[in-house]
Subunit: 207 residues, 2 copies
């Protein structure tokens, strides 16, 4: 009888301050690892042109969303500018059970919620190569006035404090190197003894 | 100012029952990652033809070895068939400080000693693809009689119980896949938040 390693999927929570480049890393990761998928959120906002149910989002009305909240169907959720967004537990769990890694790109508040409800996820904190680069990316991003930019930078700076709640940190110096690190983290996590309980029990004759 | 990740070397302890194929994996790893090195042991046994001081072993007399033991200069040591063998702490620490990863291929008793004296090492447990394969490798290895083979197999079987003391497990199905996993483990470990204390302090403004 052959020994087998952990063969379910992993939930990989990719988070960090805004301007760190999480989105770029996640897209590049999925492109290079097509058996992984991005988590699809539920939202109460209206679909935009070209957006598809179940691909970009699961579109639900407010009442349905709030019932899902009550039923504990979200790994995390938040209200942003009057619309709700949430990560459906069932979607994630089904993909994981089918052996697919699920990438959840999310802000820090969301990541902390996931950590409470799904502690076996892998928490990865992405940071820009330097403070100056973080500032530059925030400035570049929008047409906001100086005050908004300052507030965003302050907020990003404060968010850095949450690094201690994460398992891994990746400096986003180049996309290639950041993705290679994320790939290594996923592969290594699947080799962790504490994720290989079945193998462990088999080896120690208690299986 | 650029952020920098953990840039010292890691001590990677590669261990597991005899017959698991530790040696092959370590050699292949070093070949593919020449900036990593194998730890060089101190021994009291006589050099064999072609063996070089500081390359294969550090050859020391019994008195010197025992003084080193007393001075706490070993990460682990053992007596095997009347000769002493030990892993010199100083050698390992110098290489790590210079940024080189050190691979220590060692039996389980040795690994447990290292764990006590150097808990920041990464502990990797190598197992063969199946119980049958473990048996086959032990049988193939020598010209021993049935009883010796049986004893070896029993011992390997008992050693599997120590898996819980390790961080990672790798099934040695093919050398390529096992080495790729070891590489991922080393890269991932360097991204662990708790190994990046300096970066952490820098980010949270306490550096």
């Amino acid at each position: 009888m052959k020994f087998t390693m952990f063969n379910k999927g992993l939930l990989i929570v990719v988070s960090g301050p805004s301007g760190a480049g999480k989105g770029t890393i996640c897209s590049a990761y999925i492109e290079r690892n097509p058996h992984a998928i991005l988590s699809v959120s539920v939202t109460t906002r209206k679909p935009r042109v070209g957006e598809k149910e179940g691909v970009n989002y699961f579109f639900r009305d407010r009442e349905t969303f709030l019932r899902m909240v009550e039923n504990g169907e979200f790994l995390e959720y938040a209200e942003v500018y009057g619309n709700y967004y949430g990560t459906p537990k069932k979607f994630v769990e089904e993909k994981l059970a089918a052996g697919r890694d699920v990438i959840l790109e999310i802000d820090i508040q969301g990541a902390l919620q996931v950590k409470e409800r799904f502690p076996e996820a892998v928490f990865v904190f992405i940071i820009p190569p330097s403070m100056e680069e973080l500032k530059r990316r925030i400035v570049k991003r929008g047409t906001e006035d100086a005050e908004t930019i300052y507030r965003r930078f302050r907020s990003a700076y404060e968010e850095l404090n949450y690094i201690s709640r994460y398992n891994y940190v990746i400096i986003n110096d180049t996309v290639e190197s950041a993705v290679a690190k994320l790939e290594a983290i996923v592969l290594a996590e699947k080799c962790r003894v504490d994720r290989n309980k079945e193998l462990y029990l088999e080896l120690t004759g208690r299986g």
